[in-house]
Structures are given as structure tokens and as C-alpha cells.
Point group: C2
Chain length 400, copies 2
Amino acid sequence: MAATWPYRYSRRATQLRRSLMRELIALTAHPDIISFAGGLPAPDLLPVAEMRDCMEAVLARDGARAFQYGPPYAPLKEALVEHMARLGVRTRPEEIFITTGAQQALDVLFRLLVDRGTSAVLEETVYTGISQSLISQGARLLTVPTDLHSGIDTDAVAWHFQNGLRPRLLAVVPDFHNPLGVSLSADKRERLIELGRRYGVPIIEDNPYSLLRYQGEPLPALKSLDETGGVIFIGSFSKLLAPALRLGWIVAPEPLLQKLTVVKETADLETSALTQRVVAEFYRRGLMEPHLERVRQVYRQRLAAMQAALAREMPPAVCWSTPAGGIFLWLCLPQGSDAQALLPQAVETERVAFIPGVAFSPDGHSANAMRLNFSNTPPAQIDEGITRLARVIKQSLDLT
Amino acid sequence: MAATWPYRYSRRATQLRRSLMRELIALTAHPDIISFAGGLPAPDLLPVAEMRDCMEAVLARDGARAFQYGPPYAPLKEALVEHMARLGVRTRPEEIFITTGAQQALDVLFRLLVDRGTSAVLEETVYTGISQSLISQGARLLTVPTDLHSGIDTDAVAWHFQNGLRPRLLAVVPDFHNPLGVSLSADKRERLIELGRRYGVPIIEDNPYSLLRYQGEPLPALKSLDETGGVIFIGSFSKLLAPALRLGWIVAPEPLLQKLTVVKETADLETSALTQRVVAEFYRRGLMEPHLERVRQVYRQRLAAMQAALAREMPPAVCWSTPAGGIFLWLCLPQGSDAQALLPQAVETERVAFIPGVAFSPDGHSANAMRLNFSNTPPAQIDEGITRLARVIKQSLDLT
């Protein structure tokens, strides 16, 4: 077919950036490249056999119902009520909303809460799925810094609110931040809830990693501190279980979810009855907790391997975050460095890949930084990859 | 949790209607109600065993890759190139775009092509997924009538275009229309393509049913007549194979699909690697054609049963469409009748259900009509259900 048709594209679509991250991840998916670029769970930890068993059990029990249209699957909602209880969140099935992955959760919430030209507060350096989805709804992005040790700058948030800014929402990744690895301090959690409450700003708590903690005591989910219904929690099975399930969930007040139902119908009608049933069966068999324990054990070692290699290899001017969980670590070169400029040499000469920090900044911050993923690379390769990366960095800093 | 938070909702969300259809379908899902309300494939025709075998083969072969993040699955695109060839559409994998169901296809296309306040042409009586998704993007809906024998009124379309209307798109369901059952005549297909080409209006061909033809010769897909790239085809596996796969596809020029990739990323990142692989395997084993033949055979009988019962039971003032395929039939009471007003009696007294025509009209047309689904009810029950429905209708027309 000819491709000469003069399509006109919407403003929202033309404001979106091509995903530098996706392109990089595709580009660096070669067997001889050690890639810290992606955000993938380790393939050998995906519980293929268990999920196959669950699937067979579901098909034997439910037959065609597992392949048919259907309402959100009640036993999955019930499992998620228990799941949330482990995060300190008391909720009910009516307050659980199943989505086709956490990205859809963000998207339908932004469609529900944001009008073109209204503002939304987000972190200066942030998961691109948050910023891109907000842009596609026409939101004006107002960014606040995130401290590498304590999370989002609540003083900056307070300053904006005190000066009259009333955004439609504030989005934050409180646990094991993507890409920074940082967790929001307990004090700041309380402060953020208080600010949201006082100024009437809903807080979107994007929390896909909270159960992937490798050390220290859990911090309370923002939602667990919420007494007014102003916090909306988003969870995901992509990191806990498997991305291809395309399952996520929202915890929010029931009236909001009733509105959200109609929005989701326009987006994709409904979420797969099949994968919902498989995950409910996975919970029912008590497989989730042992699975997560296995995942935590492996990722804990990988994080430790990366931190040890960094400490050994990196020159003094380089620093990095010290996450207590999650799958990402953030590495900063001296101010003025350009991490993106190192990428061609890293990939072509040293065969090691990362994501430059600018990819996570809607307004061009973090040029001196990079995101390193440690979940998808075994310890020995992490060691080798960091050694290679350190050579590239030292050379760029003229330290060789 | 308290639910007192004063959420502000977006204009786009508050303009959406609660889905009357969904509520009705849920309401009438009782074993003693004969429901013509839904749009479900027959559960006993869902190829559960074959799909389970495909799934096992995929897991045995691909293991964790089937549960991981991944790019659109190339073998599925190749299968769809062949699939499209059977509809007379010559295309390439680069022109195929996989979506999480056909509803998502509509939604991401509208996000790409429509700005708030711009107009879109659609049929006066139409699948609500089209109208609702356009409304949620802020489109101004401009509706044209659809003739029950020949499809969308191309003269009305021409009149609008000649008078200067330049909508961002025109959406049409050419084959076995939902809810009308009508197919667009061959002449009108040519005319529509010509109008789109002359006035630069892209045509969205929403075509989930084209392979479900029970009599007569296939009409050419609009896309097969398109020499300029101005037609965008949407297909779905929900009716061909199984809804819970949540798989659909788009055929469109490559440059448009590159833009669409970024839009889809904001919507749900990507479509399930698992279900894509299962369907590709289903094609690879040559199961699709025999499966479709089985489906056609059963639905053909059900359509015939409904038509025979209607001819026998309905009073002369009632008429209905005579679809050559698909899963819906449209029944019209005399002008001035109110089909929705019959519903309580139909459900409560006669235990038979349908969807009132107004549910499909963004601007309140079709109050005298109703949609009847025949795919999900065996012939004997269809016969009984139409008998019951005729009693309700005759009583309302004072013919008892």
C-alpha cells in the first residue's frame, strides 16, 4: 500500500517523544552486550512451570469462561485485598480496580483526573510512563526535585501549594524509585499526605516494587497513611510475577472507581479473564510468598554484586544511590558530564549498556547520570559489566 | 477507607455515559433469562482444548520469553499478513500493529488523530465503543444515517464534505454492522473510498466480523480498495477466537504506525507476549480456518432460527434487518414506539432480554429499535425467546 496519505496528527500525539529508552533497550539486546539498560525481571525467575500449572487448573475448572468476556474477577480482587493488607492497607474488593498493567492504571487515572492545560506535579526525574502519559493528556508538568537519600522534595511541594498551585494530582514513586532507587523517608510520607490533604491534591502512589525489599524494615505505603481517600495506589504484577500477564491494579475510593470503569471501557473494554484467573489461582495455591522470597534472594545478591563492583571500580568523583530494594540503581558522574555521550563508546567498544539519565527527565535534568538495572544480569556478569563501564567513565574523566 | 475526598474529574470523563449496555448485560445474566442482550461468542465454540495445546507448546518452546516483556511478536504479524490477504488486502508486517483488543485499536487511533474540538464522522447508530472513545478524546461527533439495506449514507457524507466539513476521520463498520447487521454495499464502498480520497478524510474501517459470513459472496474490505493509504483497518480476535485473549490489530501505513507506537506505550506499554504467541501458534497449526468454519456453521443455524421465529411470531408492523453474517440483528418497532420501555416487562415477566436501540445512538435516535444477538443462544432457546419477545411487543402494540 502507498504511504503518501497526508495524515494530520493530534497535538497530544505530536508532543510525545519517541521512547529513547525503548530504542536503546532494543538496540542493546545482543548476547555479547552486558545490558543494564532494561527493566526486565530475571527470566529464570519467571515462575513458568507454576503458572502453566495454574493455567491448566483454571482451564480444567473454568473452561470457556476463562476465554470469554467477563467482569473483573472477584477472587483476584479478594487476593489483592489480602495483598494490600500486607502493605498495611485496609481495603475492600469494591475499592480494587483491575487494569491491563500498571501503565494502563496511570493512563486511565490521568484521563479521569486531568484536563488539557491543567497542571500535575511529578518528580523531576521519573519513570517515563508517568510523564509521557500525563503529556498525552495535555497536562502541564510541574516538576520537583527528588533527593537521592529521602525522596521527593516535600518542601518544594509545600512551597508550590502555599503559593497557590492547585494541581489536579501529584504522582510519586515512593519505594525503590524508578530510576533513582531511592525510597521516600517516613517523615516525608507523613508530610506528603498532610500536604495533599490540606491543599486538596490527590496523590497517585505508583508502587510496583514495594514487596521487592532486600534489607531494612518496610516503610508504610502512602495509602496506609491515608485517612481521607486522597491517595490512589497503583500496583503491578509485571515485576512481582510476569510482565506478559499485563495485570496491574488500583486501590481508590469506590465513587472514583465507578467513574474509572467507564474510562477503562473506552480504553480496552476489559482486562483478560484468563490472566486474572491464573494469578488468582497462583495466590490461592499460596505460591506468591515463596516466589517473592526467591526473587528477593536473587535480586539481593545482584544488588550486592553491583554495589561491590561499583565500590571497587568507580573513581571517587562518581557516586550512586544505595537502594534497599527494587531493580534499579542510579549512578551520577561529576556535574557537567554527559552520560549520553558515553553510550556509543560503551556499547560499541566495551559492549555494556545503560540508560542515560536525560531519558527520565521531562525537562532535561540528569544529563550527568545513568540508570543501571541489576535484576536481569547474573552477579558475575554484573561484575564484568561494571568493570567495563568504569573503564568508559574513567576514560571520559581523563583518569586513565 | 473514607471516601469523602472531593475529587475533580476531567471534562472528557464526565462527558462519558455509564454503559447502559454493560449494566443491562450484567442484569440479565440469569440462567432463566433468555438473553439476546450481549455480544458474546458462543462459549461452546471457544476452542479451549486447542488453545490449551497451543499454550503448552508455546511454553515448552519459548519458556520465560512467553511471560516476559517483548516487542510485538513477528510470527503473529506474519500470520496476519496472510489473514489480510484472504480479505483481499495486500500488506506487509511493517503495516501491522498489534493491540490489546480492537477497542484499544480504536482508542489509540483516536488519540493519534483527534484533537479536542475537532470533528469526526460516524454512523448515527453505532457500536458504543466508537462513539464513547471519540467522546473521551473530546471529538465533536457528526453522525450520518445508515440504511438498513446498504449501509452508511454516502450521499450524506458527500453533502457534508462538499459543504466544507473536514473531519479528522470517518469511522464505519462495513461488514455485519454492530448493532444493525447490515453490510455496506459494493457501490457505496467505492464511493466512500473516493470521498475520503477526494476530501482528505481518513476512513477507519472497524471490521471485527468480516470472516463470519454465512451466505453470499464476500464484499471487498475497504482497505482492499485503498490505493492511497487513507483507510485504516481494525481487526479483532474477540469474535474470531476468544475475547479473553485481548488481541486486535490495525493495518495502516508505516509512518502512522510509528507515531502510534508512542501513543500505545502511554496506554499500556505493550500487548501480552503470551497471548500473541498462543494465537500465532493457532495459525501455525492451521487451526484458524477449520475453527472459523465450525463457528460459521453454528452461527448460520442460529441466525436462521432467529429469522424463522421472527417471521412466524412478529406482527406485521415490526421489521428487522437480514444480516448475511456477524452476530447481531436489528429489530424495528413502528415509529413512535419506545423499545426501552418494554424492557422491564420483557425481563421481569417474560424473562427475555435485548438492548434498546437508544443505547447505540449518541444523539438519541433509534428509540423504536432493539439489538438482538444470536451467537450466544442455541436455536431452541432462540425460538422460545423470540416467542416471548413477540408477546411483549404485541401487547405493547395492543395486538393481543
